[in-house]
């Protein structure tokens, strides 16, 4: 019934603010956000059934494969309310669903007046959803609680309605029940969005101010900037200015997405759409920044802008040294679309030429790595991820360390490391084991609440360094996969930290150095030396492997010299065969990295540095 013919819908730039509703959907991965969004596209008629493809809004292949949404978009949905029969424009702003992209989420939320809190009726709320819910509540958004997948046999809508009601302070009967898959309840949800979410407020006559909530590089069009107009009007003929940089741009196109781009005359108060200015690099059009009119600029920027700040660092090296240039080009290209990615050239004695890269978090790291491998066809080695340390020397000199091998050797006064507030949701039976894990990881308990009778929310303050290394894996295995985790940076703390070097035959291997807490140095040393003893093949001579703090050796293993490496026979018929065998061995030797005289197979580096399992696991959940 209420699909609205386009000729009856409001035109972009001519939509009265009181007829606009801007909302986002807060949901955990797998809780059915994309399916619900697709269903809304269908019901409002902006996508005809025959053009529908699953998860229409997830653009990139990786997103579709992983079933997660990295980049948000905004879709304009015309809707005639079933309650008052009037036409409205609903702008659905998609939000990234992962811990690493909290800032992007906060900007998407800031572009809305309301949020649909979408929770799987068979699983209940997860930590990241909770974090985003709190973010939405801090932004004073109207929350519409919705239970999805009520068609599933395993659904427990009553139980999770209670949980949601307790969280947001409403009545359980206020929770809408829908199925994105079958479409049950979706029309009612659209009507409730119109009814409950306030219309945008703004001064149509003031100088234009629009907030950038996303910025995407498109090969054909350059950077496409998604904005929400707060005050005034942006038109296609304007010259615009970015507040943070003061740089001016000619507007080439302005329009809305519905769900394909439709160029228009402009955008008015409360409207959501896109701008194209010919800029080629998303760093010139940053999320959170304010767009204004260059001729008649606003005097005050919208609040909340932050520069993206890398939290986790890792060295990326091409498996084949000859691919270095290709890696650099691939990073340059990726940065056009990823303002948070930073990198600088780095040389490792063990791994050769590569880049030290900074990421928002582990998922961000893994996504970048995977895109480099997939889109540029590169084989990469990534060093174990580490955080950034601030080292104050006794003479007061301050050093910022993003690579453990650069940790200073002189007299160190203090070392500061980043700290996060971690939120863990899990069934209450796992309290004990979760607390034990967090204590082991130098955490301090900040608080604990029951979400329902058998689900708890535990808050810990933890050093970020303890999370980047196999924490999530551990948490998952201790809770049989039930726990979910979210964290946000809260600052830095003074820590009793040391650098542990790993030496092969007396020579430090930079790629294996790590900064760890003093109490854990021994365990790291033992773990790494043992691992390497197994991974490095026996050589012609004995190879001592040591872990050391400065000149003090804390762990030692040794690889016994190989005693016999010779084929028994070499007669007439053996010669061609043996030559081919030895030629093959020589090929293998080319893939060895030399550390002093020690031949270390590439695979040993990969295996010793490998954290792939952790990261992959993390991105799944």
């Amino acid at each position: 019934m209420p699909a609205l013919p386009l000729n009856e819908a409001f035109l972009p730039s001519q939509t009265p603010p009181e007829s606009i509703r801007n909302f986002c959907i807060i949901a955990h991965i797998d809780h059915g956000k994309s399916t619900l969004a697709d269903r809304m596209l269908g019901i409002t008629g902006v996508v005809e059934a025959r053009n529908m493809r699953a998860q229409y809004l997830d653009r990139m292949d990786i997103e579709r494969e992983r079933g997660i949404t990295i980049k948000s978009q905004a879709v304009r949905l015309p809707w005639r309310s079933g309650l008052d029969g009037k036409p409205y424009i609903l702008n659905m702003i998609d939000t990234p669903g992962h811990v690493d992209f909290t800032y992007e989420v906060s900007r998407s939320l800031a572009a809305c007046e309301g949020a649909v809190l979408l929770v799987d009726a068979a699983q209940g709320i997860e930590a990241q959803t909770l974090a985003n819910l709190y973010l939405a509540m801090e932004n004073n958004l109207t929350i519409i609680p919705v239970l999805n997948k009520i068609d599933l046999p395993a659904a427990q809508p009553d139980k999770y309605a209670d949980e949601l009601a307790r969280l947001i302070g409403c009545d359980p009967s206020d929770c809408l029940r829908v199925s994105g898959k079958t479409g049950i309840g979706v029309e009612e949800l659209l009507d409730q969005i119109v009814l409950q979410i306030p219309s945008p407020q703004g001064d149509a006559d003031a100088p234009a101010r629009a907030m950038i909530f996303d910025s995407v590089y498109d090969t054909y069009r350059g950077v496409v900037t998604y904005v929400r107009v707060i005050d005034g009007h942006l038109s296609g003929r304007d010259q615009i200015m970015m507040f943070s940089t003061g740089v001016r741009h000619e507007m080439l196109e302005v329009g809305v997405i519905s769900p394909e781009p439709i160029a228009g005359k402009g955008l008015g108060v409360g409207e959501v759409g896109y701008l194209i200015t010919g800029v080629k690099d998303v760093r010139q059009s940053r999320v959170g920044d304010t767009v204004t009119n260059a001729i008649r600029p606003a005097t005050v920027a919208l609040g909340g802008y932050k520069d993206p700040r890398p939290m986790v660092f890792s060295g990326l090296y091409p498996m084949d040294g000859a691919d270095y240039t290709q890696l650099r080009e691939a990073l340059d290209k990726l940065q056009l679309n990823d303002a948070a990615l930073v990198y600088e050239p780095e040389t490792s004695a063990a791994l050769g030429f590569g880049f030290r890269c900074g990421f928002l978090g582990l998922l961000h790291l893994e996504i970048v790595r995977e895109r480099l491998e997939r889109e540029a066809g590169l084989d990469l080695i990534s060093t174990a991820p580490n955080v950034v340390y601030r080292v104050i020397m006794e003479d007061g000199k301050e050093i910022r360390v993003t690579n453990p091998s650069e940790f200073p050797t002189g007299k160190i006064g203090q070392v500061f490391e980043p700290v996060v507030r971690a939120t863990i949701l899990a069934p209450s039976e796992f309290i004990g084991t979760i607390m034990e894990l967090c204590q082991q990881r130098r955490g301090s308990l900040m608080g604990m609440d029951y979400l329902s009778e058998d689900r708890i929310e535990i808050r810990y303050s933890l050093p970020l360094a303890e999370i980047v290394f196999d924490f999530f894996d551990n948490l998952k295995s201790r809770t049989r996969g039930y726990a979910s985790l979210d964290y946000e940076p809260t600052g830095e703390e003074d820590g009793d930290l040391v650098k542990v070097d790993i030496l092969l035959q007396g020579e430090a291997v930079d790629a294996f150095s790590a900064i760890v807490h003093k109490d854990k140095a021994y365990a790291y040393g033992v773990m790494m030396t043992q691992k390497l003893r197994e991974l490095i093949p026996r050589q012609q001579f004995e190879v001592p492997i040591q872990a050391a703090i400065g000149s003090r050796v804390i762990a030692r293993e040794s690889i016994r010299a190989i005693r016999k490496d010779v084929l028994a026979k070499c007669y007439g018929g053996d010669i061609s065969r043996k030559r081919k065998l030895l030629e093959k061995q020589k090929e293998g030797k080319k893939r060895m990295k030399m550390v002093g005289r020690v031949e270390v197979p590439q695979e040993a580096f990969i295996a010793a540095l490998s954290t792939d399992a952790d990261v992959k696991e993390k991105t799944k959940k």
Partner: protein, 409 residues
């Protein structure tokens, strides 16, 4: 290509080379006569296949139970000898080696027939060395006399071990008591050059048992010993037993100890090493083996045999029936060949030379790698001073690793 040959995958198969002309002719510019010339004659028959063996050999039952194949095979060998003569021309033969298989399974008259054909087509050197391999239980005093009479002047016995359970694991058919008897019989028949083959590293063999095997042989009238560590080859019964965990994979550290034990005992009994796995009394070195290690020319006659002439290596069809068929049709039995590049030839010189007591000229290897090897105790310092690369015992044990280092220039 012959169907049967292409379908049978044997252990130790070579990758496919380029085809050989039907008349077997050598590529243009390739000629014999630049280096000494030898003949290898393969007899692919055994009374039983040993579990560790990946050689090209068959029991009569495996060949269809037709004993006439032996005679037809010898006819084919004689045809190949005539073909070889046409291709390489009038060459003087320095050494002849009957290998297998078990050559002594053939009646001595057949050996005589083969050698007569060789004499008909080639000149034999005055001090020609003619060796046959034999199993301790495949000869008698009588047959040894006949072999001697046919012109064989060197015999190599496949003893492998004198420990009964080791022989059993290896599927060997003789018992240890036969060994001294048969060696003495060979001596009595007039063989002045007698060799024994030993294998160490058989699953279950202790170092003491190995020492006993070595000691029991050193009292015999022999002038040559080959001692090989057991190689577990894929596609053999032993390989399957190791893969299934029925037998343990040989421990190479223990094998290193066994090598040292043997080398000490051989040396104290007057044998010196002249190749990684070969020891001889003065004058007892096998000249035929040296032909291989000096990269000289040889023609391998028989099924699956390999040849080398002037930088071209080729190999014959493996199945006796296919081999016979080609020669009956007047065609070359060669299956494929490779023409070595200069780099490959240089690498082979290095690969073969480094295993020998003669060693290599210092100029053939990287100076810095050689210095490191000398410092590590892997090169003989006296020989080094004379400009030669000759391995010490510790060097011999890691000869392949050193070769990789040396050829890395």
């Amino acid at each position: 290509m012959d169907r049967a040959d292409s379908e049978v995958v044997m252990p130790g198969d070579l990758p496919v080379g380029e085809p050989v002309p039907r008349d077997g002719s050598l590529p243009a510019g390739v000629t014999a006569g630049k280096r000494p010339f030898a003949l290898y004659i393969h007899i692919p028959f055994c009374s039983r296949r040993c579990g560790y063996c990946d050689f090209n050999t068959y029991t009569i039952a495996e060949l269809g139970g037709d004993e006439s194949i032996e005679k037809r095979y010898v006819d084919a060998l004689i045809a190949e000898i005539a073909m070889a003569r046409v291709i390489v021309g009038d060459q003087q033969v320095e050494t002849i080696f009957f290998g297998g298989g078990t050559p002594t399974l053939l009646p001595s008259s057949e050996i005589t027939r083969i050698l007569n054909a060789v004499r008909l087509h080639f000149r034999l050197s005055d001090d020609v060395e003619i060796t046959t391999e034999a199993n301790p239980d495949s000869v008698t005093a009588g047959s040894l006399g006949e072999l001697r009479a046919a012109g064989i002047n060197r015999i190599s016995f496949g003893v492998q071990s004198t420990t009964t359970h080791v022989l059993k694991t290896l599927d060997r058919t003789h018992n240890p008591e036969q060994v001294p008897v048969v060696v003495q019989a060979a001596r009595d028949a007039g063989f002045s050059h007698i060799s024994v083959d030993l294998i160490y590293g058989t699953p279950g063999e202790t170092i003491e048992e190995w020492r006993d095997s070595v000691l029991s042989l050193l009292t015999l009238p022999i002038d040559h010993i080959s001692a090989y560590s057991l190689i577990v080859e894929e596609g053999t019964k032993l390989g399957a037993q190791v893969r299934r965990g029925v037998l343990a994979m040989p421990d190479e550290d223990l094998n290193a100890d066994k090598y040292i034990v043997a080398d000490d005992l051989f040396t104290s009994a007057g044998f010196s090493w002249y190749e990684v796995s070969n020891w001889a009394k003065p004058g007892g070195a096998c000249k035929h083996n040296e032909m291989y290690w000096m990269n000289n020319d040889w023609w391998g006659l028989g099924a699956g045999a390999h040849s080398h002439v002037d930088g071209v290596r080729w190999w014959n069809r493996k199945l006796p029936a296919a081999y016979i068929k080609e020669l009956q049709e007047g065609a070359s039995p060669a299956l494929a060949r490779e023409i070595l590049t200069d780099d490959e030839r240089a690498f082979e010189e290095l690969m073969l030379g480094i295993r020998t007591r003669a060693g290599l000229p210092l100029s053939a290897v990287s100076q810095s790698v050689a210095e490191q090897a000398l410092e590590d105790g892997n090169l003989d310092p006296g020989q080094y001073a004379l400009g030669r690369v000759v391995l010490t015992r510790s060097g011999r044990l890691i000869a392949d690793a050193l070769l990789r280092a040396f050829s890395d220039v």
